[in-house]
């Protein structure tokens, strides 16, 4: 088991390294930030001078080795746009993204699981169709539109919630709803399948035969057994939430790394993009590693299949 985990870990390091390399090369082909930084009308000499002193006129390989060298010393560099250490910039944004991801997961699980449970219990009836439609509807609209509608209704028209920003928990509600709606049906589906499986088992029948109500039988036994796939999926959903947060954070002026990432790509602030990609790929690799190991522990058949 330990050897398996170590092997995976080694492969993961290679994967992260690959991600960094790919993004580095692609970014450098997309040009450098010099022209964006210059005031309109700067002379060609001034442009060349700044490009030179920022080091973007060197061959890509030299820049790459330089970057790796700094990385090896855990020096993530200083943003050429903001003149602030990249680590500080990303670290300041990370808590917001974690907050939003947590909020979205709570929404997705908090609404998705009960919906899935209810769908399983009312199988074949109108309730299943209704809830099934509702959770699917949540992921059928682009967030840039659902976001603007949520703001218009709850922020401006009703005035219940802040229209933007991240001042307090109330500001989290709308972006979390907007982002969480995307993952709702995933959890509803898992819960529904787990429920249908479990409802047919002997111990549930036995519990009911002992006179327990159907619902409490479900709550006592079934959810406990269905918890593992839900946790695994929650871990895997984090990657999707990070990707989805790019638009949601832009719409709600939520200062997380999604918004930072898109702005940094647009401003060609290479080191910030590299830092974010490093972070997301490490998170991805760790969560999938964790999921694999968990599965391996819980179900030896999978380990053998590898």
């Amino acid at each position: 088991m330990l050897r398996y985990a170590l092997g995976r870990l080694l492969q993961s390091v290679v994967a992260v390294f690959g991600v960094l390399t790919i993004v580095f090369v692609v970014m450098r082909f997309a040009g450098d930030p010099t022209l964006l930084l210059m005031p309109e009308g700067a002379s060609q000499e001034a442009i060349d001078a700044l490009r030179h002193s920022l080091g973007f006129d060197r061959p890509i390989l030299v820049q790459y080795l330089d970057y790796l060298g700094n990385l090896a010393r855990l020096d993530f560099g200083v943003s050429v746009v903001q003149h602030i250490p990249v680590l500080d910039i990303v670290a300041a944004r990370l808590p917001y993204t974690l907050e939003l991801a947590t909020g979205a997961l709570l929404v997705a699980i908090g609404l998705g699981l009960p919906a899935g449970v209810a769908m399983a219990m009312g199988r074949g009836g109108w309730l299943e169709s209704l809830l099934g439609t509702a959770v699917l509807a949540g992921q059928s609209m682009p967030t840039f539109l659902s976001g603007v509608l949520l703001i218009a209704v709850f922020g401006v028209w009703l005035g219940w919630l802040p229209t933007s920003g991240a001042d307090d928990l109330s500001a989290l509600v709308l972006p979390a709803l907007c982002l969480g709606a995307l993952s709702m049906s995933t959890f509803a589906r898992v819960a529904r399948i787990a429920m249908i499986d479990e409802l047919g088992r002997d111990y549930v029948r036995a519990a009911r035969a002992r006179g327990m109500s159907r619902l409490s039988a479900v709550l006592r036994h079934v959810l406990r057994n269905a918890a593992i796939p839900v946790v695994t999926i929650a871990a895997l959903e984090i990657g999707n939430l990070l990707a989805g947060s790019v638009i949601v954070e832009t719409v709600f002026a939520w200062p997380g790394i999604g918004q930072l990432a898109i702005q940094s790509i647009q401003s060609r602030d290479f080191l910030i993009v590299q830092m974010i990609v490093l972070l997301t790929s490490v998170i991805y690799v760790l969560t999938s590693l964790l999921a694999d190991v968990l599965y391996g522990v819980l179900d030896p058949r999978i380990r053998l299949a590898r």
Partner: protein
């Protein structure tokens, strides 16, 4: 179990949200008098005023620092830290300074700080994007604590216009804390000091009670970063913001009907123009360029798409710009003549590339596309992100596309900052070369004699009119929207001076 836990948390969250809403509402109303909240599209990139030149950084840091000279509401250059200045000869200017200005840490502002500020920004090691605006200054010396002598490479007529953008930074403080720390916790001599900078979220400024020009109008000013324009408008409507920057004209018109809000517009020194590549493709033919000039309905664009917030211009310039000559007429809208010219040039059905980016008004791009199609050409729009757009637009002529639009501002209100970089042979923007034009703009930038300069610009603009390597479209307006209670007259140079604002 998990479900219970999640539900409990959700309930808690909902309760917390409701509580917050209740608590926040009255405190906002109370604080309103002392607090001004401004929504801008981006967070300040840097607060060090000598590094960055984007509008959103500028909007914040100009309230923290004073400048050597500034512009008043009419655009005239007036004293700020300098009280008077005179030319000793063509390349030497002496500035007298105020003696009563102190930085926010209590140290007095002297000639040493001014000299330090100039030497710092012109030092290539700082990697300042603004270097090119000041690289004509080759020396600065303090003649006394209140007198500074500047030396320029050659006679430099736009020196004062450039110095409007020079913020004075405190020598002692910068040297003590270093550049990186200064950028995060800057100290200036301006009306506001930095209380807190939450990167990517907001900058909170506190009034500098001992400011030499008087008490600042608000105790606290918050600059928030809100990238989406719809969200900025929602912020304004819901009272989360008092003033918002940048919105399209259609949105501005829609807000006008809202009784609680006011739309503030001002004609700026920014010129909407169209670039026409004179060195590549079908537009290398001057007849085709002229045809395009005849084929564009400027007034139609202004009326329908800018909702009247724009003034048609005959050349690439505008009223607030030195060297702009309103009597140089543009091309009238004459599609029949345009079609005839295209036929004459044998260019019917030829394809053009129209480069653009999300930074430019898509509506205008599409409208121009149809107008140019209607005179017999075929325009393909290529939408790139801004960095790629600049790379191609400032790249080789063959890569720069045939058409592009822009809204140009040199923030110097001088033709030297517009037509020189746009059309002078060898400039990265120029896809055009004309020796007579080069001579005229070169001569205009190397004399201090305004009469000679104007004469040269007349020659230059006449040549541009004939060759059409670009086309002036309209003088652009700046748009802001605010709560009705805010009293403020925005200025042509798009500065967000909080000192000029008041609650009614």
């Amino acid at each position: 179990m998990r479900k219970h836990h999640a539900m409990q948390l959700l309930t808690k969250l909902a309760t917390a949200a409701a509580l917050c809403a209740i608590l926040v509402a009255p405190s906002l109303a109370q604080a309103a008098k002392d607090l001004l909240t401004i929504d801008a599209p981006n967070d300040a990139a840097t607060l060090d005023p000598q590094l960055q030149w984007d509008t959103d950084s500028y909007g914040v840091y100009r309230n923290i620092f004073d400048n050597l000279v500034t512009r008043d509401g009419t655009g005239t250059i007036v004293p700020q830290i300098a009280t008077a200045w005179r030319n000793i000869d063509d390349t030497h200017v002496v500035f007298d300074l105020r003696s009563d200005v102190t930085f926010q840490d209590g140290t007095p502002l002297t000639a040493d700080d001014v000299v330090f500020s100039i030497k710092r920004i012109t030092n290539p090691a700082l990697n300042s994007a603004q270097l090119s605006q000041f690289d004509q200054i080759i020396d600065a010396t303090a003649e006394s604590p209140t007198r500074v002598l500047l030396t320029t490479k050659a006679p430099y007529p736009v020196l004062l216009a450039q110095l409007v953008k020079l913020s004075i930074v405190p020598k002692a403080y910068v040297e003590r804390v270093g550049n990186q720390e200064f950028n995060v916790r800057p100290i200036g001599s301006g009306p506001y000091r930095v209380r807190e900078w939450q990167k990517g979220v907001q900058v909170v400024l506190d009034a500098n009670a001992t400011y030499w020009r008087g008490t600042p109008p608000f105790k606290t000013v918050i600059f928030r970063a809100v990238p989406d324009v719809s969200t900025r408008i929602a912020d304004l409507k819901s009272g989360r913001a008092d003033l918002i920057r940048l919105m399209p004209p259609d949105e501005a018109v829609a807000l006008k009907s809202n009784a609680a809000l006011t739309v503030l517009t001002v004609p700026t020194e920014r010129v909407g123009y169209m670039f026409i590549n004179a060195q590549a493709g079908v537009t290398a033919d001057p007849k085709v360029r002229k045809a395009i000039a005849y084929g564009i309905d400027k007034q139609g664009i202004i009326d329908a798409l800018l909702q009247g917030f724009g003034k048609p211009v005959g050349s690439i310039g505008a009223e607030p710009i030195f060297g702009y000559l309103p009597d140089i007429a543009g091309y009238p809208y004459d599609p029949a003549k345009a079609r005839a010219l295209i036929k004459e040039a044998g260019a019917e059905g030829k394809e053009l590339t129209f480069l653009t980016s999300p930074a430019y008004d898509r509506r205008i791009v599409e409208a121009i596309q149809q107008m140019v199609n209607d005179i017999g050409l075929k325009v393909n729009i290529t939408m790139l992100d801004q960095a790629s757009f600049l790379r191609r637009r400032q790249g080789t002529p063959n890569d720069a596309g045939n058409l592009a639009i822009g809204v140009w501002s040199c923030a110097c209100q001088d033709a030297d900052g517009i037509i020189f970089p746009l059309f002078r042979t060898g400039s990265s923007w120029s896809k055009y070369s004309n020796a007579a034009f080069d001579t005229a703009v070169d001569a205009a930038r190397s004399t201090l004699d305004t009469g000679k300069r104007l004469a040269n610009y007349r020659t230059a603009y006449d040549i541009l009119r004939e060759d059409v390597p670009g086309l002036g479209l309209y003088q652009s307006y700046a748009f802001y929207a605010a709560r009705k209670e805010l009293q403020w007259q925005p200025t042509p140079n798009e500065a967000l001076f909080v000192m000029d604002m008041r609650w009614k």
